[in-house]
Symmetry: C2
Subunit: 306 residues, 2 copies
């Protein structure tokens, strides 16, 4: 069961909360003139026991920041659930809190509450984050229109290629490998684009589960389809170098996840802005058509399992 199926099965039919949860068709909730999001990262799944605790803290904050800014909203407050497992000691907590504090400062976030507990085994970390609607507007996932352009910020696939490079040896200059591994270790949400997205996007989401899967979420919740030109996808020099050595990794660009860039739709011309690339069009036909991509992969299989 993936998260979309969970929502359809257990939540969509509920009357309560529909108004505030945007019928669970979005990746955020809305209440009291604020936008809410919450994300959990689990030891052994989203981070490893020997990862830098400071980077784990930054990852926790940034995957949540990424959700809120993709709606064109500045995050302002957060609550932390620290469920500490067997592999964590006080030194780990100290380093974790140092990274956490540094990112609170950087993103101008107020920690307003939390909970600490012990688990029987692995560490589980949740953050709940919210920000205010200043102009009564935020960008939903479910509001793409036919013929909208599809845009992404930054470059796609670096993080999943970074994970590959972390696990496998590959003959590419060290600086490129390091660049990709850094992109995997700590997301860099596009906080500088909050106002631009709020002003210009018709629908928006961050890319966390992978470009294909997150575009699928936009399409499903908006009741539309998409045509994407694979050759238009913005790739970093480092990614191009790795793909030259390992062409079969191409599918990671579509399915890899953890990019924490913004995927949004809107009118013509938004790609005049730096770091924004047009990659396709929203279509009436309710399917995702990836043009000039000929690898045979089962894209439907790439969904985030709960």
């Amino acid at each position: 069961m993936n998260e979309f199926e969970f929502i359809e099965k257990y939540l969509s039919s509920k009357k309560k909360g529909k108004k505030f949860s945007l019928s669970f068709r979005d990746d955020v909730g809305y209440a009291n003139n604020s936008i809410f999001s919450t994300d959990t990262i689990c030891e052994g799944v989203h981070f490893l026991s020997d990862d830098s605790p400071s980077l784990v803290a930054k990852k926790l904050i940034r995957v949540n920041v990424s959700d809120i800014i993709s709606k064109g909203i500045n995050p302002k407050y957060c609550l932390l659930n620290l469920s500490i497992g067997k592999n964590v000691d006080e030194i780990w907590i100290k380093k974790f809190m140092k990274g956490f504090d540094s990112d609170l400062e950087f993103y101008n976030l107020n920690l307003i509450g939390g909970d600490t507990s012990k688990t029987l085994q692995t560490t589980v970390l949740s953050l709940t984050i919210f920000g205010n609607l200043n102009n009564k507007k935020f960008i939903k996932r479910s509001s793409s229109k036919i013929n909208d352009n599809i845009y992404v910020t930054g470059t796609i696939g670096d993080s999943s290629l970074g994970l590959f490079c972390k696990k496998n040896k590959i003959d590419v200059p060290k600086k490129h490998i390091n660049y990709l591994i850094d992109r995997f270790s700590v997301p860099i949400p596009r906080i500088e684009l909050v106002s631009f997205i709020n002003k210009n996007a018709s629908a928006s989401t961050d890319i966390s589960d992978g470009l294909y899967s997150d575009l699928n979420n936009i399409c499903k919740s908006s009741g539309v389809g998409a045509k994407v030109e694979f050759s238009k996808l913005p790739l970093s020099e480092a990614a191009l170098r790795v793909l030259k050595k390992k062409p079969n990794l191409k599918k990671l660009i579509l399915t890899g996840g953890d990019d924490y860039e913004i995927l949004f739709t809107g009118p013509n011309g938004l790609d005049k802005k730096k770091n924004i690339t047009k990659i396709g069009k929203i279509t009436k036909e309710k399917k995702i058509n990836i043009v000039d991509f000929d690898d045979r992969i089962n894209l439907d299989g790439y969904k985030h399992e709960i």
Copy 2:
């Protein structure tokens, strides 16, 4: 390290968020005219793998509801983090969501968002809950005054005696045993007292870590002490029956936890209301003095470890 030490060590010195977190001296946070709380329950620690999934869901909601209502605020919205471990299958999730839905309905709560993920081992469940300040007022933990009376709602110790009875055979009529085990399995937060607390209490908290520990939190954050008459503590008939058989369990009344009753301070006469008992006085001397309790126990040891 317990939660109080964690807060003193890593949070109290921080400038950011102090205003909204009430300097971390309270068990709730304040932002956007709302009161926020979050609590996590972990498999093998706060619930067992073979506990009824529906009751686990109710426990998750109610421990959080309890936090908010002890501030004199009605909870209104929540977000759920479902981090599913190896022992959980779809049938478990289905039953869990049934109990969850039923309590959302009962407490008139709106689920506005959440996150589902898989852990490597045990299940970890977090809920973040909030409610609006209708009259601009909520009751803090840090506002007890010298000479205030100390009150509790309901009866104390039932839940921890219930846990004992679940684990040990004891020669007391079945109906009493069942009563205590029920009190352990599903808290019954005193939602009917929200307005009364909001109107009358000078300081308030729910009793989750145990009467002694939660009173200690009120005293520490208010800069006062307390004198409690052990013989005044309200005990259920079932609790009295168990204590008669096992007098050495008396200390559980003070330290056992999971009561989810309300501990509050205020002026004379609040015990005229049904289900409210006066148990002592707030003192200038910054220590907790338990009168007519002669068991030698190290009460300082009973703190909730993270």
